[in-house]
Amino acid sequence: MTRISLTVDGAAVSDDVEPRMLLVQYLRERLGKTGTVIGCDTSNCGACTVHLDGTSVKSCNVLAVQADGGEVTTIEGLAQDGQLHPVQEAFRECHGLQCGFCTPGMIMQSVDLLKENPKPSEEEIRLGLEGNLCRCTGYHNIVRAVQHASGQGVTS
C-alpha cells in the first residue's frame, strides 16, 4: 500500500492505495465519483478524461500513485455554486449528446481544448477531440456545442 494525498474537485483527500490502482478506479470506487466513466480497455475512447494538474488525461491510463500531490478535476467539479460550466450549458443547448456515455469525457476534453485555443475552427475542434469516441456518432452536435461555448456561430 502507498499513501497518496491529492485534491479532487477542490477537496483534499488522502488514502492508502495499491500501486496498481488506476486513477479512474480510485475516483469511482474510493471517492464515489462515478461521473467519470470507463468506456474501453485500451485507452482509446476518452470517456474517462479528467484534468490532472491543469491538463486533460485519460484517467484509465494513469496510476493513482502518479497523481499523488496533484490536483484533479472531474466532470463533477466543473459546475460552480449550482451553475453549470459554460461548456456543460453548451452541450445541453446544442443537444451535444445522445446516450450520454461519452459526454463527461467530451466535456472535459472540450474544456481543455478551449483553454489552449479559445476560438478554435471546426477542424481544430475535430482534431482536439480526436481522442474521444462517441458510439452514437453524435460528433456533429458535439462540434456545434464547442463552437457555441466558444462564443462563435455554429456551422449548420
Partner: protein, 284 residues
C-alpha cells in the same frame, strides 16, 4: 482490466532511480508517462515486481539550448516538446511529428524519452530523430554514454538502453531554418501510421541544398532514406524532380505485412508519401 500487483517507488534523482534498477534487475520496470506501459500491464502482457517512476525527477524535464544542438529531457511531455520555441526554431521536424502523435490527452502524459525507449516501429518520433541525426544520452551506474540514432534502434521494441540504464536526454543537432513536414498515412483518425515519412530540407535559391528523410513503419526500426536524400541534393524543388528522387524511398527497406496492407503496398506508399512530404517541407 487492471495490472497485476507490483511495488512502486518514485525516486527524485537519476542516481536513486539507477540504484533501484540495480537492486531489482529484471524484476523492475521503469514508468515514464505510462502511455505505452500501462496498456501493456493492464493486458497482463508484462508483470514487473516493481515499477520505478521517473515522474518526480525534475532534471529529466525540459528543453535547453546547447550551442550547435538542443537537448530534450527524456521526461518532457509530448505536448511541451511540440510547443517548445527551441524545438520549433531548430528542429521543426520534431514539432511537426508530435502534432500527429496520438491525441491531446496522451500527448499531455506521454514523454519524448518514453516513446523513443519504447521503440515501436510505428511510433512517430523515431523517424524524425533519425533524420535529424540525434544522439541519445544514456546513464548507468558506470556513468553516461552517448549513442547515435543509427545505433540506438536495435529491433522491434529494442534499443541500445541496457537493463540497468536510463535514457536521460536526446541531443538534436540544430537545423535552423530548414523546412519540415511529417506525412502520416492512416486509415482513420487517431491511429498508428501504416507508413509515415519525416522530411526536412534546406532550400537555397529555389533548389534543395540538403534533405534528410526518415521512414516510419518500413522495417523493424525507423529508417533513413539515404538514397532519396542523395538524389534530392541540388535538385529544384519541383514536382517532377522530387517525384524522381522519391522513387528511391523503398530501397533497402523491409516493411511488415498486416491487415492494413502488405509489404508491396507499403513500398509503393513510401514513394508517394515521400514525394508529398518533401514537397510540403520545401514549400515552407
Amino acid at each position: 482490466m487492471i495490472p497485476a500487483q507490483f511495488d512502486y517507488v518514485a525516486p527524485t534523482s537519476v542516481e536513486d532511480a539507477l540504484a533501484a534498477l540495480a537492486e531489482h534487475g529484471d524484476d523492475a520496470k521503469i514508468i515514464a508517462g505510462g502511455q505505452s506501459l500501462l496498456p501493456v500491464l493492464r493486458m497482463r502482457l508484462n508483470a514487473p515486481e516493481i515499477v520505478i517512476d521517473l515522474g518526480r525527477i525534475d532534471s529529466l524535464r525540459g528543453v535547453r539550448d546547447d550551442g550547435d544542438a538542443i537537448v530534450i529531457g527524456a521526461m518532457t511531455p509530448h505536448s511541451v516538446v511540440g510547443a517548445d520555441p527551441l524545438v520549433n526554431e531548430h528542429a521543426l521536424l520534431i514539432a511537426r511529428a508530435v502534432e500527429h502523435l496520438a491525441d491531446a490527452q496522451v500527448r499531455h502524459r506521454g514523454t519524448f524519452g518514453g516513446a523513443l525507449a519504447h521503440a515501436d516501429p510505428a511510433g512517430d518520433l523515431g523517424a524524425p530523430v533519425r533524420a535529424l541525426g540525434a544522439s541519445f544520452v544514456i546513464q548507468g551506474a558506470g556513468g553516461t554514454r552517448t549513442v547515435s540514432a543509427d545505433d540506438f534502434f536495435v529491433d522491434l521494441f529494442e534499443t541500445a538502453i541496457g537493463d540497468d540504464e536510463i535514457l536521460t536526454a536526446v541531443r538534436v543537432p540544430k537545423h535552423t531554418g530548414w523546412g519540415a513536414h511529417y506525412e502520416k498515412f492512416v486509415r482513420v483518425a487517431h491511429q498508428w501510421p501504416i507508413v509515415a515519412v519525416a522530411a526536412t530540407v534546406r532550400v537555397e535559391g529555389g533548389a534543395i541544398a540538403e534533405a534528410r528523410i526518415g521512414l516510419t513503419n518500413m522495417g523493424s526500426t525507423p529508417l533513413r532514406a539515404t538514397a532519396v536524400e542523395a538524389a534530392l541534393a541540388g535538385q529544384p524543388a519541383t514536382e517532377d524532380a522530387v517525384r524522381a528522387a522519391a522513387a528511391h524511398a523503398a530501397e533497402r527497406t523491409s516493411p511488415p505485412s498486416d491487415l492494413n496492407g502488405d509489404a508491396d503496398y507499403r513500398r509503393h506508399l513510401a514513394t508517394v508519401i515521400t514525394r508529398r512530404a518533401v514537397l510540403a517541407a520545401a514549400g515552407g
